[in-house]
């Protein structure tokens, strides 16, 4: 919008394409994640992450598809999430010399918020995948879960493939978005497909480019090299044994990190600012056998800051006006009288 207002059609086209690309990506990986959670729900009958865990052993295919979804949404390079974030960043970096002062401050702040949200999304989906699929099952349903049928697996894998393809060949998507940007803004991004090796060039080759395909090829090539070298020279003996328990042999699943405890550090860092979270630790005195408790208070700042005051204001005004319902007939007549006199004096003065 800012670029369009300042008459930079190319920049506006880039920004709009980035936004539309992200909308496309979002619809792909968000539905993939929802299919995954649906599969988990059908398999275990549980939605609460605290009762899941270890599903990767029992539902490997769903776990893989869900993993691709989590990686895509956390904007990790070979996949599509990263490309739309990259395009948005290119739009931000594009031309800093906008005249309006407000925009001068707003655009870098946007960049900061974008980066913060990307990082937090990654954290959230590490928690989601880790607590649900990895570790040991925290309930009997999770332990007895079975893989879902192929009909529900198929859409997940198709979407996962789309995520990978859109991430690897972003040029295809950008060019398909081109008619939209021309119709709306008139300006458009340079055509991508013509370029060699299908790399994504937002403005001009000299400035910056990103080649999804080559990055993907690079990663697979180096993985193959590493695997070949390791299997060639290193031993490939394997032995199974119990995990390191640092001297407390307690196999109960509760000792694992739950979703709540996983998010506790981030909540302590950001929560106190955003949601006014407060943690109260109730540690019993030594010798007192009752369990220690940690309780957490969070407040939705938007709800308390905006909605409640508005409702209260309307309520107060309604109360104040409500008196008018219970006046006597004489007082109502007084209204008519005052209105009449007021209008007559107005007319007298006006004429």
């Amino acid at each position: 919008m800012a670029y369009w207002a300042n008459g930079l059609p190319a920049g506006a086209a880039l920004a709009l394409t980035a936004a539309l690309f992200h909308v496309f990506n979002h619809s792909v990986f968000k539905s993939l994640l929802f299919f995954g959670s649906g599969a988990v729900l059908t398999a275990t009958g549980e939605r609460d992450m605290e009762h899941l865990g270890g599903l990767i052993h029992r539902m490997p295919k769903t776990a893989f598809a869900f993993l691709v979804g989590c990686a895509a949404i956390s904007a990790l390079p070979p996949l599509n999430g990263f490309v739309s974030e990259w395009l948005t960043f290119q739009a931000i970096v594009l031309n800093p010399d906008l005249p309006q002062w407000g925009l001068k401050i707003a655009i870098p702040a946007d960049g900061a918020l974008l980066a913060l949200s990307a990082a937090l999304a990654a954290a959230c989906f590490v928690k989601a995948f880790g607590v649900c699929f990895l570790g040991r099952p925290r309930s009997t349903q999770a332990a007895s879960a079975r893989e879902v049928d192929y009909f529900s697996l198929a859409p997940m894998f198709i979407l996962a493939a789309i995520c990978l393809l859109a991430g690897v060949l972003p040029g295809v998507v950008v060019d398909s978005l081109e008619p939209v940007t021309t119709s709306i803004l008139g300006g458009r991004m340079p055509t991508q497909l013509g370029d060699r090796w299908l790399s994504l060039v937002p403005m001009s080759a000299g400035r910056s480019s990103y080649n999804g395909l080559l990055v993907f090829l690079f990663i697979t090539a180096s993985t193959l090299i590493v695997v070949f070298l390791v299997h060639r020279f290193a031993s490939n003996a394997i032995r199974r044994s119990a995990a390191w328990d640092c001297g407390f042999p307690d196999p109960r699943p509760e000792t694992q990190y739950t979703a709540e405890s996983f998010a506790q550090p981030i909540r302590r860092v950001f929560g106190s600012v955003v949601f006014r979270t407060r943690e109260v630790v109730d540690m019993p005195l030594p010798g007192d056998m009752r369990p220690a408790r940690i309780t957490r208070f969070a407040r939705d700042v938007a709800w308390d800051g905006l909605y409640i005051p508005v409702a209260a204001a309307v309520g107060a005004m309604a109360d104040w006006m409500n008196v008018l319902q219970f006046l006597t007939i004489r007082q109502y007549l007084a209204f008519v009288f005052i209105a009449l006199v007021a209008l007559l004096t107005a007319l007298a003065l006006w004429q």
Partner: protein, 492 residues
């Protein structure tokens, strides 16, 4: 369409004049009903009379009778006459079942019934006369007659609240009427030097013809009195006090008629004089006055809706709010503003009477009008509950219904001309919207409160009205739009 019209006209006997029809039939029915003892028969006669007057009004739509000194039918008031007779007919159907229930519960005795039906038709006569009157004096008398009859009907239950409401309505109404009369006299005075003394100085058509010649300053004073006089009858904000109590305490068919018809009649009278004023270039523009009053009543009613406990009183305030919107629209004037005002008025009358029909049955079933004591309607009485939900959605101005279209038109015209005014207008709308939905959720959803017995209700009228409003919301027939546009042009 006109093929069918010729067929009907040929069938009609030559002496039959529909204009006289809509006046004499209610008058005659009132006389008959006063004598009929039995409830079942009088209800039937009541419905029949209303149906015939509706038929007359419909024929008038096709073959426009020529107007003369005392009575007139032009594009402008045919809208009101048709709407009035139609809603009167549906109300009479509804009142048949409503009153039957009131008889069983003993709240009304047989003697009341005779009085009720006679007054009902007398009121119809008064309203039709007011709408058809060409002579502004005659119009005043007719409006006064209508007020008198409704006052008697409001007090019919003879409970303390009903009597107090009737008394308040009576006094405020009489003061309003007196001011309106003073305004009419001033208009006559302004017209006398131009048109000459005697009867034709009171005939509206001649007045409009000579409008430009009238003394502008006298017209302004007259308009002030008329605005306050008829404004009281329209229920605009500072003068509205009688409306909530009259609606809440009167039998529901009467409150449906009150908010559906009587407010429109008073508004019609006010608009007649607005046309007069608009035609006279030197006089002050009536717009700002109407906009001010309209906005004041919209926002005032919006706030008052929040603290209401009685369901009928809440919808009474919603009527004040909607009359505020309509007056605001006519204040904005211009072709689109007037069109929106007319559409909003029609939609409001249809929706509000439908709501009162449902509320009537609900209060009968639940035995109370306090919203706190009724809940979970959609579960205890699904059809009634969902009818109420549809009605409230329509009155709150939600999209599929016609009220939204008219409010949308109003907002567009206001934004085009005075954006800050539109902001105030939309604020008022949102206020009312919030209050209505807040109350609706208590009544319609949640767990069932109050008796859940079967109800013998006539759903037909309410359903008919809401389907009309829904149809208007989705598609307005081009003939209707052309007709309204012509009237809007007339309104100036």
């Amino acid at each position: 369409m006109n093929l069918m019209a010729e067929a009907i006209l040929a069938a009609l006997p030559s002496w039959f004049d529909p204009l006289l029809g809509i006046l004499l039939i209610p008058l005659g029915a009132a006389a008959i009903l006063a004598l009929l003892p039995g409830y079942r028969v009088s209800a039937g006669v009541n419905i029949a009379a209303s149906l015939i007057s509706l038929a007359c009004a419909a024929t008038m739509l096709i073959a426009r009778p020529q107007s003369h000194a005392f009575l007139i039918v032009d594009d402008f008031n045919i809208v009101f006459i048709l709407l009035n007779t139609f809603i009167a007919f549906t109300t009479s159907v509804f009142s048949a079942s409503y009153i039957a229930h009131e008889l069983e519960t003993g709240r009304l005795t047989a003697w009341h019934l005779r009085f009720y039906h006679a007054m009902f038709q007398l009121m119809m006569f008064g309203m039709n006369l007011a709408l058809a009157a060409n002579n502004i004096g005659l119009m005043w008398v007719a409006v006064e007659l209508a007020t008198l009859t409704t006052v008697l009907m409001v007090g019919i239950y003879r409970t303390h609240e009903a009597l107090e409401a009737a008394w308040k309505y009576f006094i405020l109404g009489s003061v309003g009427i007196a001011l309106a009369l003073f305004g009419t006299i001033l208009v006559y005075l302004a017209a006398r030097p131009v048109v000459g003394e005697g009867l034709d100085a009171m005939v509206w058509t001649t007045l409009v013809a000579h409008a430009n010649g009238l003394d502008p300053s006298l017209l302004n004073i007259a308009f002030v009195f008329l605005l306050l006089g008829y404004g009281t009858k329209v229920g605009l904000a500072p003068l509205h006090a009688w409306l909530p109590d009259a609606h809440a305490e009167s039998p529901t068919p009467i409150s449906a008629v009150l908010s559906g018809l009587l407010l429109n009649v008073a508004l019609y009278a006010l608009l007649r004089f607005k046309i007069l004023l608009a035609a006279n270039s030197a006089a002050i523009a009536p717009g700002p006055l109407l906009i001010g009053l309209g906005l004041l009543s919209l926002i005032f009613a919006g706030f008052m809706l929040y603290r209401r406990r009685d369901i009928k009183r809440m919808f009474a305030y919603s009527s004040i709010e909607h009359m505020g919107i309509i007056v605001f629209a006519f204040g904005m004037a211009g072709p689109l503003g007037n069109l929106a005002g007319l559409l909003q008025m029609t939609m409001h009358s249809l929706t509000k009477s439908a709501i009162f029909f449902t509320v009537g049955h609900i209060s009968q079933v639940k035995g109370t009008q306090r919203m706190a004591d009724m809940g979970g309607l959609t579960t205890s009485h699904p059809f009634l509950g969902w009818l109420l939900v549809a009605g409230v959605a329509a009155i709150a101005g939600l999209p599929p219904f016609g009220v939204f279209t008219s409010e949308f038109l109003i907002v567009t015209t206001t934004f085009a001309r005075a954006p800050w005014l539109a902001v105030l207008f939309v604020f008022g709308l949102l206020l009312a919207f919030g209050a209505l939905l807040l109350r609706l959720t208590d009544v319609a959803f949640g767990e069932v409160k109050g008796p859940a017995g079967p109800v013998s209700a006539s759903y037909l009228p309410a359903v008919a009205h809401l389907t009309l409003v829904l149809a208007a919301g989705i598609w307005l027939p081009p003939r209707l739009v052309a007709w309204f546009e012509h009237v809007a042009a007339m309104l100036g």
